[in-house]
């Protein structure tokens, strides 16, 4: 077990390293003049060749790429100084550079936006499970009935509609047209300031995310449940006279949950990495919306940092899922 975890951990570190190199190279070789967005912004669009050359020199674009990558990695772990304009500015660890737009360290801004994204992700993912699994189990128990067929086909149609259109329409109707009191004030308000406001601002995003995401979980749990309920040990449990409830939930659901946990872990990672559409539509100032705004403003360090952040989150999520899976299901061979 320990060897397996170590092996997976090393593989995860390799992937993160590869992503960081890829992202760094992309931002190094991609733009023609990587210093121009900053130069334009700092000189209010009066960026001539002399100024551009100075910014290029200060940002280190004249040095070899490997030494700059080394500085970048060093900055992430121990911090460094960054020269913007004429001043040397300190950038404490973990340093992802300075935002071109606001000229504050990227990590400081990211820290402020993480709670919003985490709120969306945790609430949405909770509703995935809360709606998805009970509906799936209920459908599996009533397999073949009219209700089951109606549910399966309506969820198929719902999940075929692009998510962002579903979210956009819901937002437009509930907050713009009908102005439902509890839901219409969407946005992120820190939970420490006013928990009630935080809750009502997030509620619609959670519900929309939950309803849309739960279609998938209903399908998975219905399938897994049907499979589990046809196993021999379920018949044994029924034969020895256990109550229906115990048979379904204790014997059936426990076996059916293993694959669902796997999918859930990865989905949760994707949500944590940034729910761009949800944050954009419901005006929640999280990581996803931030990276979108940074793209519009060509704020390269922010885009770079968000890309790295989500890669790390996803790698960790994958790792945890693999480990949990091997704990839950003893049949998985660790080799």
């Amino acid at each position: 077990m320990f060897a397996y975890v170590v092996k997976r951990l090393i593989a995860g570190v390799v992937v993160v390293f590869m992503v960081s190199v890829a992202v760094f190279l992309l931002f190094w070789y991609g733009p023609n003049e990587p210093a121009r967005p900053l130069c334009d912004r700092q000189t209010s669009n009066h960026c001539d060749t002399v100024r551009l050359a100075r910014y290029t020199e200060n940002l280190g674009y004249n040095n070899p790429v490997y030494s700059e990558y080394g500085k970048f990695i060093k900055g992430v772990f121990v911090g460094r100084d960054i020269k913007i304009g004429t001043k040397e500015r300190p950038c404490p660890a973990p340093c992802f550079g300075y935002s071109y737009r606001t000229t504050v360290p990227v990590w400081g801004e990211m820290k402020d936006r993480l709670p919003a994204t985490f709120s969306v992700a945790i609430g949405g993912a909770t509703l995935y499970l809360l709606f998805g699994i009970p509906i799936g189990v209920a459908a599996a128990r009533r397999r073949g009935t009219v209700a089951d067929k109606a549910l399966v086909s309506s969820f198929l149609v719902l999940s075929s509609i692009p998510y962002y259109l579903f979210a956009l329409l819901t937002w437009l109707y509930l907050t713009v047209i009908f102005e439902i009191p509890l839901l219409s004030n969407t946005g992120y308000h820190p939970i420490t300031d006013n928990p009630a406001k935080w809750f009502s601002g997030m509620l619609l995003a959670w519900i929309v995310l939950g309803i849309f995401g739960c279609t998938q979980y209903t399908r998975y749990s219905r399938g897994a449940m049907i499979e589990a309920l046809s196993e021999d040990y379920i018949r044994t449990a029924k034969a020895k006279g256990l109550p229906q409830r115990t048979v379904v939930y204790k014997h059936g659901l426990r076996a059916a949950l293993v694959p669902i946990v796997t999918i859930f872990g990865i989905d949760f990672g994707v949500l944590l990495a940034g729910t761009i559409f949800t944050e954009r539509i419901f005006d929640i100032q999280g990581i996803g919306f931030w990276s979108l705004q940074a793209v519009g403003a060509k704020d390269l360090p922010v885009v770079e940092a968000t890309a790295l952040f989500s890669a790390v989150v996803l790698v960790v999520a994958n790792l945890l899922v693999d480990i949990i899976y091997s704990v839950l299901d003893p049949r998985v061979r660790l080799s």
Binding site: V15, M18, V19, V23, L26, F27, G30, P31, N32, E33, P34, R36, P37, L156, V157, S160, I161, P162, Y164, L165, L168, L169, L172, V176, I177, V270, A273, G274, I276, F277, R280, S291, L292, A294, V295, G296, K298, L300, V303, E304, T306, A307, S310, A311, L314, V315, N318
Partner: protein, 340 residues
């Protein structure tokens, strides 16, 4: 199937073979050899939902192909006009004629856009063209790439398989939306002054979509090939001294038609949705015509001019839904194990 006999006490029919028929009857004549694809196609033609969906898809394909003709029939175009000739700037930029304030305007059957005065019908049909063009080219590239890599990984095995599988997993870890988001400002910075910018943006989008769309099909094909390559007909081909490339193309590929068709038919709607979604976020087609872009603009006018939003929205939903349901129907038709 007779459900009464298949209870727990009797085993029912042990084989699924049809009961023997009188060789002289009409039915016996009808039984001829049919390829699995023919059988699947027959099943599909009998599936009502599939037929309706195919008709809807065909409609959109025709709209996309004949976008120019449709525009000239209705006498509309995508040219930008002096906005004040069509919209009233004092009234929040709403159109002077036609919806939402007035009735149907025959000069602009879908109405005109607020503020800019662009014709909605022309933008709708060309948006359909953008959508289908990007989605189908990206599907083509992604599936070719996926099939080739899957074939190689599955058939050659060893280090080739290891490398390809590693990259498959690697690309599966990177979320597509973020990759598109990361590439968008770089491409914009590099080429925004180029006169070919709209075309470059289109190519960039197709490359990003195909780069993050090939993994599913590669995995599927690899798995299929892993089991197929141990079969007798492949061994026979090897013994005969057939070169590997010929075995891959002539022996393996024809056996993989079904999974490829299914993957492709489900990849297309995903790409249509992704294209419009990126355009909605402002990181896809920004210097051309796209449904997603119109939706982005229209959501600000929804209170006063809902029709403006509904037109592209219905376009996307109908196309994606029809393609998805058609894909599901194709999968069911090709799968011999589906219960009917």
């Amino acid at each position: 199937m007779t459900a009464q006999t298949a209870g727990p006490e009797t085993l029912g029919h042990l084989s699924d073979e049809p009961p023997p028929v009188d060789p002289n009857s009409k039915k016996a004549e009808a039984i001829t050899g049919k390829s699995p694809l023919r059988i699947a196609f027959g099943r599909l033609a009998r599936d009502k939902i599939a037929v309706v969906c195919a008709a809807v898809v065909l409609f959109f394909v025709l709209v996309a192909i004949f976008a120019g003709v449709i525009c000239s029939i209705f006498n509309v175009d995508t040219e930008t006009v002096l906005a004040t000739t069509r919209v009233n700037m004092l009234n929040g930029g709403l159109p002077k004629e036609g919806p939402p304030l007035h009735g149907f305007d025959p000069a602009h059957p879908f109405g005109v856009a607020p503020n800019t005065g662009n014709d909605n019908l022309a933008f709708w049909v060309y948006g359909c063209r953008t959508s289908l063009l990007i989605a189908s080219i990206a599907t083509l590239f992604a599936s070719v790439l996926g099939v080739i890599l899957g074939l190689l990984a599955g058939f050659l095995g060893g280090p080739v398989d290891k490398v390809i599988s590693f990259f498959t997993d690697f690309f599966l870890t990177v979320p597509f939306l973020l990759a598109a988001l990361t590439l968008a400002p770089i491409v914009a910075e590099r080429f925004s002054t180029s006169p070919n910018y709209p075309r470059i943006q289109l190519i960039d989008l197709i490359v990003v979509l195909s780069m993050f769309g090939w993994m599913g099909i590669a995995r599927l094909i690899r798995g299929e090939v892993l089991s197929l390559r141990e079969r007798e007909f492949i061994q026979a081909a090897r013994v005969l001294g057939m070169p590997t490339s010929r075995i891959l193309v002539k022996e393996l590929l024809p056996n993989l038609v079904a999974p490829i068709v299914v993957s492709v038919s489900l990849m297309l709607p995903a790409f249509v949705a992704a294209e419009a979604g990126l355009a909605y976020l402002g990181i896809g087609v920004t210097s051309g015509i796209s449904w997603g872009q119109t939706i982005n603009t229209a959501s600000n006018f929804f209170e006063t001019y809902p029709l403006f939003l509904w037109e592209p929205l219905i376009g996307i939903v109908a196309l994606v839904l029809a393609l998805n349901l058609l894909g599901d129907a194709i999968r069911d038709a090709l799968d011999p194990k589906t219960r009917r």
